[in-house]
Symmetry: none
């Protein structure tokens, strides 16, 4: 079954709101095994909506319209679809009762306008909407299925889950289950990833493989369809195993396990704690770590050392190191990491110092230069210089992620008993 | 000129991401006086993209495609548009240089795949993209204008502002000037705001007034159209004056002057400095302050005191205060603020302590309870308890913003010679 989604509303075309309904419905249709092939947004305009319906009828089996079911003049989705199908609108007494009782519940008289909301296309079926006055409806015509849903997300989203998906499932001959798994990678670019797994990307269609890049990270989504959940998982397993074989050193987490979550999990498993010392990231690393609920079990705190005197006073970075190597240097990054660990009595310390820009760069120390140090009293120091690209915000995000990944690698290297002298 | 936007990417149809690019671009085109009539989303599929281009050509003058300019096999927007227009792709040496230098900057070899990103449709023009490897491009054919833009919003959005809108403006026959001014308010809700200015919202259409709420802040955008810039500004001025009269005490900034920028400006004007002590916000306040370039001129640093021992050791919060009142209390918030000011030798100190959830709440100290203290050695202490609503992320953002607003108010109260005993 080929589906498409038509969102009706001039506010979408003016950029006042994003089309989150199409995203929400697409996700749920995909999980139910229905492929969505097009999204369209069109204004509250009869002619243009008719033209869009004409296009949709020619290419799709299931056409879901959302928005334009309200009581005002410019809400015309219901009437326009009826006109398009050449079918009359009829009053649904039960729907009218629902609309009337909604106003009774608010202690207000129903405006006559709202009577329109109880009109159903002949042969169609009302989809009750307990959260608003506009019910949805469903009608079949000319071998096509049409579903109308109200636009406000707080009415739309529950209707999708409670009514539309069960309806859709009832159409599917044999039950199809869809399962997804997301592999999260750091330290490899999207194109380099695509080259290493080109054969899998080309050769796989169940599960499908979809890479997606974001700020230094790449995720790889595997999606399988099958008659049962177990069968879907069985389809994913061998492909995941092959991906792990090829990309294992970059893979830090699965599904919702972001870098801060993955680092936190390993720290908790080992019963270890961490503290941070941040210069150019200004608190972002701490913010990312503490965005995870329960992070107080392994995160003790941090110092945002935005000035040299803060580095000396709060982190005990020696003044001569600052003078000799400069605040942005391997040496200072390591002293900061050590200072964080010692001042907070944590097992691990992370130090970040760099130039986030746009000002402050020099020829030898350009914008984007960042040193990251990781300290553990027994395992020895680790430090590395990075040259990040992008604007201030991107450089800061990439630096914080690189620091999390560095700690994750150190935790793993330690766990695997491998060398700790890696630099 | 009739415009439409085509977003290319299977991830949109799978519901993995929302089509925020269409919203962003529509808003900016509307401000430039261009009407957008359709949004379409289509997958990474040659045939379907060709069919969508066919439809667009028949109904629109300006067709903006976004997404599918990446280096991998499934990125085919560039090639498909070239095929659709019957025009060859040619290597743009300058674009190639940009892509190569991007990889040089990362210290990595350019994969051969990325060479495709430097290909431009014959007769077209490259739109340089300093934030990624995929440049945009612009081509005219058959009386239609086509613009291609990269999909990642961090690359897409600045390109719209910096390149696409100026290009679009250059096409407009008679110059219509659009000027906007954004008033930024804190401490007033959207509906309360709408009530106070209901007459202005209803009675104004040049300038138009558009309120927008986000995490405790409300912005109010005034947009005027006129034949000249001066005329547009003259239209805005009296409406802005009336708004300032009604809403002055909530108004902290205009246009891009966010709370951290407004606070920074006043600190710099007064030659003062600030340091922070964060518990539940975990570094977010520091991150927000240091997101502003040049913030090192007034921000000295901070302590993320996620543990009681960090509060004692790093901020000199007395152990008996922690025992007596608990870590989440007015008293500890004030000691933290004072500790921040004293440890970093700053004029101002801010302390934040609270329960961001989802766990950790009790009957007397529920999730969302946050105390914010502001300290200045001469002006006396200020502290206030808040009960924020929302999830962990929202509570943290609201707490950090409330802290910035508290400091802003204190800086203003001081500047106006008013009472400093306000609590």
């Amino acid at each position: 079954m080929k589906a498409e989604i038509i969102a009706v509303g001039t506010e979408l075309l003016l950029g006042q709101i994003a089309n989150t309904n199409a995203r929400f419905l697409s996700e749920h249709l995909a999980l139910a095994g229905i492929g969505v092939y097009f999204h369209t947004a069109v204004g509250d305009n009869r002619e243009r909506l008719l033209s869009v319906l004409e296009i949709a009828r020619a290419r799709s089996d299931l056409i879901v319209l959302c928005g334009g079911l309200g009581p005002t003049e410019d809400d015309l989705t219901r009437e326009t679809l009826a006109e398009f199908l050449g079918l009359p609108l009829e009053l649904d007494p039960q729907a009218l009762e629902t609309v009337e009782s909604y106003f009774q519940g608010m202690g207000r008289e129903m405006p006559s306008n709202n009577r329109r909301q109880a009109m159903v296309i002949r042969g169609g079926r009302t989809i009750p909407n307990p959260r608003g006055t506009a019910p949805g409806q469903y009608v079949e015509s000319g071998g096509r299925r049409y579903v109308l849903l109200p636009g406000p997300p707080r009415e739309f989203e529950p209707l999708v889950v409670e009514s539309v998906i069960p309806l859709v499932r009832s159409w599917m001959g044999r039950e199809v289950t869809i399962r997804s798994r997301v592999l999260r990678l750091y330290g490899i670019g999207e194109s380099s990833l695509a080259e290493r797994i080109a054969d899998l990307l080309a050769g796989q269609d169940n599960p499908t493989l979809a890479p997606l890049a974001a700020e230094g990270e790449v995720t790889l989504r595997l999606t399988a369809r099958a008659a049962s959940e177990q069968e879907a998982l069985d389809r994913i397993a061998p492909v995941e195993a092959e991906l792990r074989r090829r990309l294992g050193k970059y893979l830090y987490g699965v599904d919702g396990e972001t870098l801060p979550v993955a680092v936190g999990r390993v720290l908790e498993e080992k019963g270890m704690t961490v503290a941070v010392a941040e210069s150019c990231t200004g608190g972002l690393l701490g913010e990312m770590i503490t965005d995870v609920p329960g992070s107080s079990r392994y995160f003790l705190g941090g110092v945002i050392s935005y000035s040299n005197s803060a580095k000396q006073h709060m982190l005990k970075v020696p003044g001569d190191a600052l003078e000799r190597a400069g605040a942005v240097s391997e040496e200072v990054a390591l002293f900061m990491a050590r200072g964080a660990a010692e001042q907070f009595a944590a097992d691990w310390g992370i130090g970040i110092t760099g130039i986030a820009g746009p000002g402050g760069g020099t020829k030898t120390k350009p914008v984007g230069l960042v040193y990251i140090g990781v300290y553990h009293s027994a395992l020895g120091p680790w430090v590395k210089g990075f040259q990040f690209r992008g604007d201030r915000r991107q450089i800061r995000i990439r630096a914080a992620k690189a620091a999390l990944y560095a700690l994750w690698r150190r935790l793993r290297v330690d766990g695997e008993g491998a060398s700790t002298a890696e630099r």
